[in-house]
């Protein structure tokens, strides 16, 4: 278990962390998406329209902070020492000046770009993990997060065609995902909602994860691939025994209750109740019981629809990612910035490499006090490299740069170069809009002079 390390969070340490270690420049290069260069296609106002928000000690919450460049951000963070930094959307105008705009006739203060984000939190899995609950995580339940990363990451890349996907440890009990492709950043709320729903298999309202219902004669290819490539193996080779899913009566009853055919459920119950260990005592009881269940449900005589699907439903229920839908559906949700320090655990929100996510161990993520210690120790020795490389944060930052930031900026650069052409194309698309607007000219005989506000939107 990761203990609640309240004591590990120390405001002086945090100041030191912001002063010496926090990668301000990398963060800003990321959220500028190449607009901080000198290319003519760059939008110099881009970074300044992004909302940051700070949580200060004593729960003081500063929303709608904005910064034109890395220096402004760095100075402000160093001055205020926020315990948490959140990143919001890019707005149509500088969010710090939103009141000035709100007073004009057309309220133009609106989010225009936002990474597609996902928030997966272990507390949502409390009904399928027996090792710990609530805010705690351990190596027995962490595979649930690994599964989530694998399933969602694969679909984001293979199905939706996204390339720049950043996974970050949330510092305590979950993971965050940032999809940063230009196309992802410009999705409407409706389109975000559609993607979130594509990932949803839980029936009932959005907050209930209790029931998985797989209908239809086949699984959608996305679900089928997730099942065969990830869920099934993790369930059978990891969670089944790790969580002892069938070891006690209370636990197997939970699974039996998911079998729609009462006679099969009671047959299994009968076999499991007398506690008689079949075949060899060496075999894990969970595995034995799971095999019996599968065999009964998938055997020829129970070909009936729904029963065969039942095995899959059980696996989905115990493994499939549980997303916080609301976070993904709306552009203006805030999400904690990578490299923040979790105020409860003291752990740094480090990036996770999705291709090696099964190696990620939340219990070895560097903590604030550990980093400060390393800093102190190292500074007593000769000063060779930058501070960063000398602490265990170095690896995390290297990973951030090499697997995420560099490919992203490369893509942004080539994208900015074609922007001017793109703008012209978009003007053309909007000419149909112009046409419908002529209703006003035609019916009401007015001259439509395009106002400057419209020009801004069209451009």
């Amino acid at each position: 278990m990761i203990p609640q390390q309240e004591s590990d969070f120390n405001l002086n340490h945090l100041k030191l962390y912001y002063g010496k270690l926090f990668p301000f420049a990398d963060l800003c290069r990321w959220v500028s998406y190449g607009n901080d260069a000198n290319h003519p296609g760059c939008d110099q106002s881009y970074m300044g329209r992004r909302e940051f928000s700070f949580t200060l000690v004593d729960d003081i919450y500063l929303r709608f902070q904005s910064f034109n460049n890395v220096h402004e951000l760095e100075n402000s963070v160093k001055e205020k020492s926020p315990v948490k930094i959140d990143i919001g959307p890019v707005y149509s105008v500088d969010p710090a000046k939103r009141y000035a705009y709100a007073q004009s006739e057309n309220n133009v203060f609106t989010p225009v770009e936002r990474e597609l984000i996902f928030d997966i939190d272990m507390t949502d899995y409390d009904d399928v993990r027996y090792c710990c609950s609530g805010a705690d995580v351990c190596l027995v339940c962490w595979p649930l997060m690994t599964i989530a990363i694998k399933v969602i990451d694969t679909a984001l890349r293979d199905d939706f065609g996204f390339k720049h996907v950043l996974w970050v440890y949330s510092g305590r009990r979950g993971v965050h995902c940032w999809v940063c492709d230009g196309k992802a950043r410009r999705l409407s709320n409706e389109q975000r909602g559609a993607i979130a729903d594509y990932f949803r298999v839980y029936k009932g309202n959005e907050n209930s994860h209790k029931k998985v219902s797989l209908t239809g004669a086949a699984l959608h290819p996305f679900l089928a691939t997730s099942y065969t490539n990830v869920l099934k193996d993790y369930f059978e080779k990891n969670l089944l025994t790790g969580q002892n899913l069938l070891a006690t009566e209370e636990r197997y009853e939970k699974i039996l209750s998911m079998i729609p055919d009462e006679s099969i459920a009671s047959e299994l119950r009968g076999r499991w109740q007398d506690g008689r260990r079949s075949s060899s005592a060496k075999e894990d009881i969970n595995v034995v019981r799971w095999e019996q269940l599968k065999q009964l449900l998938q055997s020829g005589k129970h070909k009936a629809q729904g029963l065969r699907r039942c095995v899959e439903e059980i696996v989905f229920c115990f493994t499939y990612p549980r997303l916080d839908m609301e976070v993904s559906k709306h552009m203006n949700h805030l999400l904690k910035a990578p490299f923040c320090v979790h105020p409860k655990t003291g752990r740094v929100c480090v990036p996770i490499d999705p291709s090696r996510c099964d190696e990620f161990d939340p219990t070895t993520v560097p903590t604030l006090s550990q980093l400060i210690e390393e800093l102190n120790y190292e500074s007593s020795r000769s000063d060779v490299d930058g501070e960063l490389n000398r602490t265990s944060l170095g690896n995390a930052i290297t990973l951030f740069r090499s697997s995420f930031l560099q490919p992203l900026l490369k893509a942004c650069k080539s994208c900015l170069e074609v922007t001017s052409i793109d703008t012209i194309k978009r003007w053309n698309v909007h000419s149909t809009v112009e046409l419908s607007r002529s209703i006003l000219t035609l019916i009401f005989s007015y001259n439509c002079n395009r106002s400057s506000g419209e020009r801004k939107e069209l451009a």
């Binding site: 057309n106 065609g161 559609a194 239809g216 086949a218 699984l219 996305f222 909007h430 035609l442």
Partner: protein, 454 residues
């Protein structure tokens, strides 16, 4: 009669009308260049509004797609009927553009209009049935998508089949047409996992194309509504201050049912039956005011207006009304004060005092949008009560627990009139297909049912 005179007088519609009239759906991309009479502007708009309100009602009742299809067909036939096909098209276009102006003005109005117009478009497209007509509409959209080539089809055939089976569709045949579309353009199909998605593209089958065109329709309309709104606030509202603005501003809240200001059945109810009739036939809003009046012997102004005009509408004549209010109020404020302070207002409602205008009973829309303060009892309980109070009130009315959940659910989702309709249906054991739009309609529908049973 006023006529808008456009600068250009090309008449697109008349030239197209001599072609064989293929029933098609305009995309409202360009405005018609034709003269519009002011009264046509308004009446066409109201007819279309009836269609849209009907759709809204059907959707919030959770009707299935096939039922919606029939509903839309009927609504369209009833409300948009004109002598010639070209006139229907004319009316279709004028009414759309008129409502666009009405509904461009606030975020909420735009949202409502956008979803109703998109639904209307969707079902009209579905109703085209024949693939040729559908393809014609698609062509007008100028969709940049290509059908999937044979080679590509072969390579993904298996997965397409998997999707078809997962959604209960027949397996795609070898000559089936699929369009390869950026997934963002078919959010609905993505959300329902109704399509194969690969490398950013959705593979949309011919019979799913409605979703694609409806989405396009919606996004175009959404953009134009915002532009129209800018134009409205920057110039039209002011310039049309005396002509269009009043029409436009009144229309979105307009109540479309019959006029209850002059009850045809005056003296239909008399004082002695009123208690019993209130129990059996008053909608909850009136029942609540009525009960509160009996309990407190007093109602504040808003409540007196809402109940007083309603009672006038159900046929209580002035003398009875005075007697009714006097009997209650005098218990609290005394006879003298009643005559001095309150009798005037009642006569006023009947047009016997002051400006002598005949006040109309309030419609649901008006009641629902009122803002009762502390000590006020007017308003619509489905909107203004807490869930707990609403449950208690419905229980007192005699709504059984099964219907109760439906009613509460509708109220929670802010379908107040629908909640009221379901209450009506539960209490009368009869469907009320038109829905409740006016407390006096609730009353008269209820009387009709009860009298036919008696």
């Amino acid at each position: 009669m006023e006529i808008f005179r456009p600068q250009s007088r090309r008449n697109i519609l008349s030239s197209s009308s001599d072609a064989v009239s293929v029933p098609t759906i305009p995309l409202y991309r360009s405005a018609p260049s034709l003269d519009v009479r002011l009264e046509e502007f308004e009446s066409f708009a109201i007819d279309r509004l009836r269609v849209l309100k009907g759709i809204s009602d059907g959707m919030s009742r959770g009707k299935k797609p096939e039922e919606m299809e029939n509903l839309v067909k009927d609504l369209w036939k009833v409300n948009m009927r004109q002598q010639h096909a070209s006139e229907v098209l004319h009316k279709d276009i004028i009414s759309h553009f008129a409502l666009r102006l009405v509904y461009c003005r606030t975020e909420d109005l735009r949202k409502w209009f956008l979803s109703m117009e998109s639904a209307l478009f969707r079902y009209r497209f579905r109703l085209l049935k024949n693939a040729e007509a559908q393809r014609a509409v698609m062509e007008e959209f100028d969709l940049p998508y290509r059908a999937v080539s044979n080679v590509e089809f072969e390579s993904i055939k298996e997965k397409l089949g998997q999707v078809a089976r997962s959604t209960g569709q027949p397996l795609p045949t070898a000559d089936a047409i699929f369009y390869k579309v950026p997934f963002e353009e078919v959010p609905e199909l993505v959300a329902g996992r109704k399509v194969l998605i690969s490398q950013g593209y959705a593979y949309v089958a011919m019979n799913q194309i409605v979703s694609l065109v409806a989405t396009l329709f919606r996004s175009q309309l959404s953009k134009t509504l915002i532009l129209t709104n800018r134009k409205w606030t920057s110039s039209i509202r002011e310039q049309e201050k005396h002509r269009l603005t009043p029409i436009v501003e009144a229309m979105c809240s307009s109540y479309l049912g019959p006029d209850y200001s002059q009850s045809r059945e005056y003296a239909d109810i008399s004082l002695k039956d009123i208690d019993q009739v209130a129990k059996s036939s008053f909608p909850l809003c009136m029942r609540h005011l009525f009960d509160k009046l009996k309990e407190d012997h007093h109602l504040k102004h808003g409540g007196r207006m809402q109940l007083g005009l309603f009672l006038k509408g159900v046929g209580l004549n002035l003398d009875d009304a005075l007697a009714f209010w006097r009997a209650e109020f005098s218990k609290k404020v005394g006879l003298e004060k009643f005559e001095k302070q309150y009798a005037y207002g009642i006569r006023h409602n009947y047009g016997k005092e002051g400006k002598r205008t005949d006040y109309s009973p309030y419609s649901c829309t008006k009641i629902i949008s009122s803002t009762p303060g502390t000590g006020d009892h007017h308003g619509c309980p489905y909107r203004h009560f807490s869930e707990e109070n609403l449950r208690a009130a419905l229980g007192r009315m005699g709504v059984n627990s099964r219907a109760m959940e439906d009613v509460i659910d509708k109220a929670r989702n802010r379908h107040y009139q629908l909640a009221c309709t379901l209450t009506f249906e539960a209490l009368h054991g009869m469907p009320c297909d038109a829905g409740i739009n006016h407390p006096n309609q609730y009353f008269s529908d209820s009387r009709k049912i009860l009298q036919s049973k008696a």
